[in-house]
Symmetry: C2
């Protein structure tokens, strides 16, 4: 009936659900296995559109390509400086902690917080043993 999105876009969405915080290139490589004629530009175009529409989160890291996250729920990211993996905090961060944080920010800046982008950097358990 109503095919809301193109076949390419649906495959990109499926790839996002399968892969873990992929880059555009990783999405491209994944989709290309079953759909070789897709173009990298199409992947970028759709990812950018989806990010603008709020269907996907675009994450930016220094000296690294952007990554995309289909989980648009409230959560933070922790990046390992050793292996580069990105971990989700999901909703395991105590909500009461975030509330306190918002209050502290409002007191310090006057901003009543509506959204947060929090990226933590450090070493994962695996990399800590080898450093």
């Amino acid at each position: 009936m109503s095919k809301r999105f193109s076949a390419q876009r649906e495959r990109i969405q499926a790839a996002l659900a399968t892969l873990d915080h992929p880059t555009a290139a990783q999405v491209y490589d994944h989709v290309r296995i079953a759909y070789p004629q897709i173009s990298l530009g199409t992947v970028y175009r759709n990812l950018s559109t989806m990010a603008a529409e709020g269907q996907v989160l675009r994450l930016s890291f220094p000296s690294a390509p952007d990554r995309f996250d289909c989980n648009t729920a409230e959560h933070c990211h922790a990046a390992c400086q050793g292996c580069g993996r990105i971990f989700d905090t999901d909703d395991t961060l105590p909500a009461q902690l975030l509330t306190q944080l918002d209050a502290a920010v409002e007191q310090a800046t006057g901003i009543r917080v509506e959204a947060r982008v929090m990226l933590f950097r450090g070493w994962c358990a695996d990399c800590r043993t080898t450093h």
Copy 2:
């Protein structure tokens, strides 16, 4: 004995102190006024070195050049969605709160946190009254 830096690097450091979260290009343009022969590559090289040495913070945002912050003390940024102003929390965020955050992140992800990038979005006091 204190380490001596090149004239170029000292000018870059001075620019960082003057400008507010500048990009490399903005540092370049500022230094160039009084020191026209400096090269953009020199700016990038020094900024990267300083970031690696922990003398400067490198901030990354989607679809925008990296920004550099000479305030390496623990602080966050809060952006107003109304007027666009950016507020620093400086060190007014309770350290004990950040420690708790780090612990929660490590428990959730395994990452032992070394650095955080926290950007808050919301409405400042002025804009809240007019919205």
